[in-house]
């Protein structure tokens, strides 16, 4: 008997939500737009991939040396980084045309190879003129970095090649006999030492730079995964707030509140029914967001039903739903109309989504605002979910966070119930 009363609220709550265009927009369409924007606009598929520069080259070199301008162009055309060609080489017959195309934005960079380049690089020191296009703040940095990295790398290699050639002709007959008996070369031969010494001239410090970003953030699918959960959290915030904030006032406005209270259904039946209806809608929306995130936006979200840790994810999602609906009940104290309640709910929901570490990582926030993210329990539960499915933390760590989330959810929801009962009394008595 009692179940039918709760079912009445669940069915009507879910049906009316799906029949209201603005609810569909906010609960389903907007978060999916956010996910798609994340994948194609904020973090485009090319992000993190090596870039290919359009490079104009003018070759004025006529030298006969084996490594001349033509050989250099060959290197430029062939060089790859992680399987991607670094340059798209376009040959120009004079510098004026090259500069012209750079100005028009048709090239990212240009190189002018002077006459005598081949001889100079072989015997003395070669010169090159490099142009970098400054199309935007972002592109000038990329273009400059790519060009200087390449030239740095290229010069070192030329230097090492020259040492190798030199050493081919080097033998002990060039060395004064008394020099070989003692010195800092230990048990190496003097010739071997000489080679090391030359290398040190070319490259005094051979530094290896290793980038150590957390695996989760080092590649695109994980970053997109992080934001997909952000979109989900944002939707949960304002939609949960909305469900709670309008629960009583919408019945009041329809005139159904006193009808409902005159039936054997209790305030508690209504509370349970409306909360479950809210959770059903939030779950359907979460599924839509995650499916779009994984299959359209290419997010890395792994969920394995055979891992208990992964079952903490739906549990934490329900906790977020209960928290936001509970806070919604509290927000319903602030407004007398459903329009007022829904604008309060969406405004506060969106503000918190942007400031409390739901959508933007909290590390991006200035200090005092980071405090908001640190104390906002919805962020805790969302971070537990991120920890599990993006960072793959273990069960022991995840269960501690989850238990803390269960405790705060209970407290928030109990405060919500008190607000809900108060709002009903307020509406009935007036």
């Amino acid at each position: 008997m009692k179940w039918y009363r709760i079912k009445a609220f669940i069915v009507s709550g879910v049906k009316t939500t799906f029949r209201e265009k603005s609810a569909i927009f906010w609960i389903f369409i907007w978060p999916i737009i956010l996910v798609l924007m994340t994948a194609y606009v904020f973090i485009p598929p090319s992000a993190g991939q090596p870039v290919t520069l359009d490079l104009g080259v003018v070759n004025n070199d006529h030298s006969k040396a084996p490594f001349n301008g033509t050989a250099f162009i060959d290197v430029l055309e062939k060089i790859e980084y992680n399987g991607t060609k670094l340059f798209n080489v376009k040959i120009y017959d004079n510098e004026t045309k090259l500069v012209d195309d750079l100005r028009k934005g048709r090239l990212d960079a240009g190189i002018v190879i002077p006459d005598g380049f081949g001889e100079n690089i072989t015997y003395t020191q070669a010169r090159l003129t490099i142009y970098v296009s400054g199309g935007s703040i972002y592109s000038i940095q990329v273009n400059r970095a790519v060009m200087s990295e390449f030239l740095h790398f290229f010069s070192i290699n030329v230097g090492l090649k020259k040492i190798e050639m030199t050493m081919k002709y080097m033998n002990m007959s060039y060395v004064p006999a008394n020099m070989t008996t003692q010195g800092p070369w230990g048990n190496k031969s003097f010739i071997e030492f000489l080679e090391e010494y030359f290398k040190g001239l070319v490259l005094p410090v051979n530094a290896t730079i290793i980038e150590e970003t957390p695996e989760a953030l080092s590649y695109r699918p994980a970053i997109v995964g992080w934001y997909v959960l952000g979109a989900l959290g944002m939707m949960m915030l304002y939609s949960g707030f909305l469900v709670g904030a309008v629960a009583v006032v919408e019945e009041k406005e329809r005139g159904s509140l006193e009808r409902i209270l005159s039936t054997p259904a209790s305030e508690t039946d209504m509370l349970i029914g409306k909360t479950v209806a809210g959770l059903v809608v939030l779950t359907l929306s979460s599924i839509a967001i995650i499916v779009t995130g994984v299959f359209v936006a290419g997010a890395k979200i792994t969920w394995n039903p055979f891992e208990i840790t992964d079952w903490l994810v739906p549990l934490n999602l329900i906790l977020i739903g209960l928290m936001t609906i509970g806070i919604g009940f509290i927000l319903s104290l602030l407004s007398k109309t459903s329009r007022g309640a829904s604008s309060i709910a969406t405004t506060i929901g969106l503000l918190l989504a942007f400031t409390a570490g739901i959508w933007f990582p909290k590390e991006w926030m200035p200090g005092p605002m980071r405090f908001l993210a640190d104390i906002f329990p919805v962020t805790w539960a969302l971070d537990t979910i991120r920890d599990i499915i993006v960072y793959n933390i273990g069960f022991n760590e995840a269960i501690v966070g989850t238990i803390r989330n269960i405790v705060v959810t209970t407290l928030i929801f109990m405060a919500g119930i008190m607000a809900y009962k108060k709002v009903i009394r307020k509406y009935v008595e007036q």
């Binding site: 009445a8 409902i260 005159s262």
Partner: protein
């Protein structure tokens, strides 16, 4: 006749304002009881107390022996507020099912009952349309249908035909009468004397939170109103209207630009009244003699019109 509903000495205050003052009434099975009074008299407040939505400050309500907040009492009553509380984004059928489930009913037999009720209300072909698209009259009828879903023994209806066109009003009256035939006890709050007069077996007249008279419409009329009422409407009022009326020696009420004069013998009184009006320079637009209504009862009791 079983006493289904007993209201005994109920008081209710909102803030400093006393809205119900020692109200008592009884509804038996198989009768329609009218609660007649002007806007603001306290009818809706009383109905909300009877339905268990509000609690009285003092006094007692018994629904077949149960307190209204008891869920057993709630299963016995069907309460239809003035705004019937329909969900605009659900269809007529879905609204019926919603209220059926709130009563703890679901399943095949309920669907059959819903279809029957929609048929009775003439809403069958609109059952699957959203209530958002219903006219005011259709909503009222659907509201009544949702109230009847669990076949309650006691019907509590607040202004059931307010804002309806006369055709629909007569249909609703017919449905209420059918429920009475089936032995239901029905309490109707209304400010239409015509409605109270046509439907009620007994009427309680309420004014400013107090029951000021009760009885069958006939009893009330014979007790508080004369056998006839002479109603005069003027082109031009006589110079001293009050003086003229006092000279007739009859009870009268000035009601806007009309005058209602209570008379036990219109054949004797009409010529004298006409002569007096002419003497004072008045000219008559219409004059007719009518049977008294509950409005005359109310006028007699309070000196005011009901609307």
């Amino acid at each position: 006749m079983e006493e289904l509903l007993i209201v005994d000495g109920v008081w209710k205050k909102f803030g400093d304002k006393v809205v119900l003052k020692n109200v008592s009434l009884v509804v038996h099975s198989g009768e329609v009881v009218g609660l007649l009074g002007p806007n603001g008299a306290g009818k809706t407040t009383l109905l909300r107390i009877i339905s268990g939505v509000l609690k009285p400050d003092q006094g007692r309500v018994s629904i077949k022996g149960f307190n209204p907040v008891d869920s057993k009492a709630r299963a016995l009553i069907g309460f239809c507020p003035q705004e019937p509380g329909l969900i605009a984004d659900l269809t007529g059928f879905e609204n019926m099912l919603f209220y059926a489930r709130l009563q703890g009913l679901d399943g095949k037999s309920v669907i059959k009952r819903i279809k029957e009720l929609l048929e009775v209300m003439g809403l069958t072909k609109d059952a699957d349309r959203l209530v958002r698209k219903y006219s005011g009259g259709m909503k009222k009828k659907l509201g009544l249908a949702t109230t009847l879903i669990h076949d309650p023994e006691i019907l509590i209806l607040d202004e059931p035909t307010t804002g309806m066109d006369p055709g629909v009003r007569r249909e609703v009256w017919r449905i209420i009468e059918e429920e009475r035939e089936r032995g239901k006890g029905i309490l109707i709050a209304t400010h239409y004397m015509e409605e109270a007069d046509a439907l009620s077996d007994r009427v309680y007249i309420i004014d400013q939170g107090r029951i000021i008279a009760s009885g069958s419409p006939e009893e009330l009329k014979s007790k508080y109103a004369p056998s006839s009422v002479i109603i005069v409407e003027f082109y031009k009022q006589p110079r001293d209207l009050e003086g003229v009326l006092q000279k007739t020696g009859l009870k009268y009420i000035v009601d806007g630009d009309k005058v209602r004069i209570h008379s036990s013998d219109p054949d004797r009184d009409v010529p004298g009244i006409v002569a007096l009006i002419h003497e004072e320079g008045g000219t008559i637009k219409t004059l007719h003699v009518a049977k008294p209504t509950l409005e005359d009862v109310f006028l007699k009791l309070t000196g005011r019109r009901i609307e």
